[in-house]
Amino acid sequence: MTKNDFLKLISSKIVILDGATGTELVKRGMPAGVCPELWCMENPAAIQDVQRSYINSGSDIIYAPTFGANRCKLEEFGLGHRVYEINKTLALLSKECAKDSFVFGDLAPTGRFIEPFGELPFEEAVSVYKEQVSALIDGGVDGFVIETMMDIQEARAALIAVKESCDLPVMVTMTFEKDGRTLNGTDPVSALITLQFLGADAVGCNCSTGPADMLAVIREMNNVARVPLLAKPNAGMPKLKDGVTVFDMGAVEFASYADDFIKAGANILGGCCGTTPDHIFELAKNLKGKIGHGKRKMGLSALSSARKSVFIGGGRPLSVVGERINPTGKKALQGELREGKLSIVQEFALEQENHGAAILDVNMGLSGIDEKEMMLKSVKVLARMSSLPLCIDSTNPEVVEAALRIYPGRALVNSISGERDRIERMLPVAAKYGAMFILLPLDDRGIPETVDERKRIVNYVISESSKYGYTTEDIVVDGLVMTVSSDIKAPARTLDLIEWCSRERGVNTICGLSNVSFGLPAREWINSSFLAMAISRGLTMAIANPASQQLMNTLYSCDALAGRDKNLTSYVNRFSGVTSESTSKAEELTPERAVFDAVLRGRDDLIEKTIQSALDAGISPQNIVDNSLIPAITLVGDKYDRKEYFLPQLIMSADTMRKGFAYLEPLLIREGEVETEGKIVIATVKGDIHDIGKNIVALMLRNYGFDVVDLGKDVPAEVILHKACEVKADIIALSALMTTTMTEMRTVIDLCRERKLQFKFMIGGAVVDQNYADEIGADGYSKDAMDAVKLAKALMNS
C-alpha cells in the first residue's frame, strides 16, 4: 500500500480499524501470564479467528498482533532473540486471513524510558523499532501503526524507524489520560504538531478513555491537523468488578458516537480495550457511506515542545525568541560551556520563560568546544526542564541534524539562506524532521543592498523549499536588521521587506532587534522604537532579551494597539496594579519612617543609608532602635502570624534588622546601651546531617538579639555540653530531622542532667513535637524559626 493509496482510501470513506485483541484471545483460551505474541504464533487458529471476526465486522485495516513484539518487551519473556521470527510470522498469519483488508504492523511501547527522559539512548530505541519494522516488512504488512504511546519521544523513535526503513503509510496514536495529557505531560495538539511534521500519515489517540472523552481530544486536534485524524477509544471507562477490570459500554452505545467523531474531524475509527467484533460491526454499520474530513492544507505556523505548542502570526501577539542562550559576548557562559557545564544555560532558559519568551534560541557556537556535543547536551537538558519550543541556531548542518533528531518537538531552525550550501545541505535536514525555519535573505554574493534583491532571494528559497513540501506557513523570513549607525537607510529597508513579506507573501517575519542599535548609546530606546515600527509593518516574531522591561512593555503596548491582543487581556494582565511614574512617587518619608520601611520591606540594601540619614537628622541611635527598628520587626512578626508575610520575608526583614543594628552597635556601645537577649548554643545532633532548619533558627535568633554559637551538624553530646559550659550558655537548642536521630536529643539532655548542669533546652525538627520535648525533659519545643525566637525569649524570662 502506498501513501497515496492510503490517502485515497481515507478520502473515499471512514476507514474502520479493528477492536481489542487481548480480551478476544483470552476468550479463545490464551492463559494469563504468557507472552501473547508467542502464544499467537503457536496458536495461529485463535488469532486468525479474531482477525477474521473483525474483517467480517467491517474492518478495513487490521493490526498484526505484534503489540509487544519489540526486543525490549520480548526480553521480558526471554524471547529477545526471536524478534524477527515472531514479527514476520505474525505478519504472514495476518496477511493470510486479510482478504481485501489491509494489515498494519503494530509498534507499541518498549516499557523503557527514552532519553532525554529515560536511560534508553534514543538511537537504541530507533534501532529496537527498526528491527521489528524490518521483520514486519518481510512479513508483507501494508503499513504501520504506532500505538498506545505515552512518551512523545518513544513515538518519534518508532516513527523515525519506519520512515528510515520504508515508504509505507504509518499512523501514530498517543494515549491521553483523563486530564487530556499523556503520562509524560504531552498535550494532544503538541503531539499532533510534532508527529504530523515528522512524517506520520495519520495521527490520533487510542486507549485510556472511552468515546466521550476521546471526542474532546479529536476536536482539539482538528483545527491544527494537517493529516487525517484517528480515534480508537475503549468501550467506556474501566470499572472494577469482583477484582477484574471490565469495560461495560455496549456495542450500540459505542457506535452511537460515530457521527460525533466525524463532525469532530476523525477519518479513521476503531476500538481499543473492551471492544469486540460486535462493537466494530455496529460502528461500520453507522459509518456506511459516510466520508470524513476532506484533504487538509499542508503548512502550519506552529512549533512544539514535549509539553507545549506555540502558534505564530495570524493576528496573534508577537512571539519573542529568547536570545540569551548564546555564548557570544558572555564570558561566564563561555567558561561554563568550556567545562561542559550547563547550569547557566538552564538559568537563562527559566529566566527567559519567566519573562515571557515564547521560544528559546539555542546557540553553542564557541571556539574550543565541540559544538555538536554541547548542542545535544543543551537540547536534552532544555527539553526536560523548559516547556518552551527551541530554535536551533547553528550554521553547521550536522549540528542541526543531531539536535532535530533528538528534540521531542517541532523546532525552528535558525537559519537557511539562499547560499547554495544551505539549500543543498540544511534544507533537506530541516525537512526530514519537519522543522520550521528562518529564511535569511542573503546568498553567495552576500547581503543584498536593495529590498528587491532580498525579495528575490526570499522567493527563491521559498520555491526551493516547496520541493521538500514546505509552504510559506512553515517559514519565517528574517528582516536582516543592519545597524543604523553605519547606514541610516538600513532600518527602512528592513521595514519594507517585513511589510512585503507580511502583506504580499503572507509569510511570518522575525528580527534580531539589538543589531539596529549597535554602537549607539541608550540602545534600548532605539531597539524598542524599532520594534514598534516593525510591528506596525507586520512583524510577527523578534529575537530579543525578554528581561528588557522597556522592550517587553513596548511589545505589549504595540500588540494591544495593533489589534493582536484580544480584549487587551495580555496588556491588562501585564500592567494592572502598576502605578504610573507620577503617582508612584511616594510621599516623602520621615527619616525614622524610612528606617522602619526598610526593615518592613526587607531592604538590607537601604538600611545603612536610611539609618545614616536618620542620624544626620539628629535622631539618637537609641531612638532609631526604639522607634524604628523594634516596631518594624514587631510588625513583621505580626504580619507573619497573620500570614501576610511568608517565611522568606520574615527572614529578610530580620536580616535587615540585624544589619541595621550592627551599623548602630558602635554608637550604642558608646552610649552604653547595647545588651544581648541571651546566649544560645545550637546544634544538629549526632548522626543527623540536616541543618538548613537549624541554620535558619540560628539566623533568626541572632537577628532578634541573641548571642548564638552554632556548632553545625552531626555534633556529639559531649561537644555540645563542653561548648555550652565554655561560653556560659543560657540555652542549648537541638535540632534533628529523622526518627533515627531524634533519640540523640535525649542523650544530650540525659548527659547534662547526669552532670548536674543547669542549661535550658529547646528542641525542633520535622519529627519532634511538644510531647517528645516533655518526654525527654526539654524545656520547650518550637515549630519554626519565629516560634524559636518567642520560645527563647520566654525561656530567658522564666
Binding site: 487481548g22 538552564q346 538559568e347 500570614k643 536580616d655
Partner: protein, 213 residues
C-alpha cells in the same frame, strides 16, 4: 536478576505553588511587593535549574504477607504492620526512588554561609518540592504502567521513617534500586546524601491479564 528501571530525567514541571506553600505563602493573605516577587522568583528559578531529577523503580512480586512481615521475590523483607496492611490485597509492590542531586543543597549552604537565610530557605524549599514532584510523577507513571498490565495501585504510598515503617528500611531501597548509581549514599543513621532524595513503596493488585488492548 532485578529489573531496575532507570530514569535519567524525570520531567518535573516547576512546582511553584508547592514551593510557596511550603514557605507558608498564603495566596489570599500574603503581600509581596514587585521587587520581592522578582527576587524570590529569580532565586527559585536558579535553584530549580540546579535540580536534576533522576530516579529508578522496580516491581517485586510479593511472596508472603503475614500481617506484620512481608517478603518479596529475592528474599527482600519488610517488618511493618502498616506496610503489611498497605499490601494486604496486593500481588506485587513498586519500589521507587528519586533524587534531585546535591547542587541545590549546596546553593542553600552558600546562601547560609553568606548570611542570607531567606534565599537559603527558598533554595532548600525548591529542592524539597522538586523531589516531591518527581516522586509524584513517578507514582503517576507507575499507575498508568500498572493499568496497562491489568493492575491497580494502592491509593497510598509509604516512605520509610513514618509509623512502624522504620527509617532503617532506607537501606532496602538503597540496595534494590542501586541508588549509588545516582550519586546517592546512605549514612549510618539511614539518611540519604544528597538529602533531597525520596523513596517510597506502593502496592499493586492484579485485576486482569491483558495488556495494551
Amino acid at each position: 536478576m532485578r529489573d531496575v528501571h532507570v530514569l535519567n530525567t524525570i520531567p518535573v514541571v516547576f512546582p511553584e505553588r508547592e514551593i510557596l506553600f511550603r514557605l507558608k505563602f498564603n495566596i489570599h493573605k500574603t503581600e509581596l511587593d514587585e521587587r520581592q516577587r522578582e527576587k524570590f522568583k529569580s532565586i527559585m528559578m536558579k535553584a530549580f535549574a540546579l535540580c536534576k531529577p533522576t530516579g529508578a523503580w522496580l516491581e517485586l512480586p510479593l511472596l508472603l504477607n503475614d500481617g506484620s512481615r512481608v517478603v518479596f521475590e529475592g528474599g527482600y523483607e519488610i517488618k511493618s504492620h502498616s506496610i503489611a496492611e498497605l499490601l494486604r490485597n496486593c500481588d506485587s509492590a513498586f519500589f521507587m526512588g528519586v533524587t534531585v542531586g546535591g547542587a541545590v543543597s549546596a546553593l542553600a549552604n552558600e546562601y547560609i554561609n553568606a548570611g542570607d537565610g531567606a534565599l537559603a530557605l527558598i533554595a532548600d524549599a525548591v529542592g524539597s518540592e522538586t523531589a516531591e514532584a518527581a516522586i509524584d510523577w513517578l507514582n503517576s507513571y507507575l499507575a498508568g504502567y500498572a493499568r496497562r498490565k491489568g493492575k491497580v495501585l494502592t491509593s497510598q504510598r509509604f516512605s520509610a521513617g513514618y509509623g512502624d515503617f522504620l527509617l532503617e528500611n532506607q537501606r532496602l531501597f538503597y540496595e534494590i534500586l542501586d541508588l549509588q548509581n545516582f550519586g546517592v549514599s546512605l549514612t549510618d543513621t539511614f539518611i540519604f546524601v544528597p538529602e533531597k532524595t525520596v523513596t517510597a513503596i506502593v502496592g499493586a493488585a492484579n485485576t486482569s491479564s491483558m495488556e495494551g488492548k
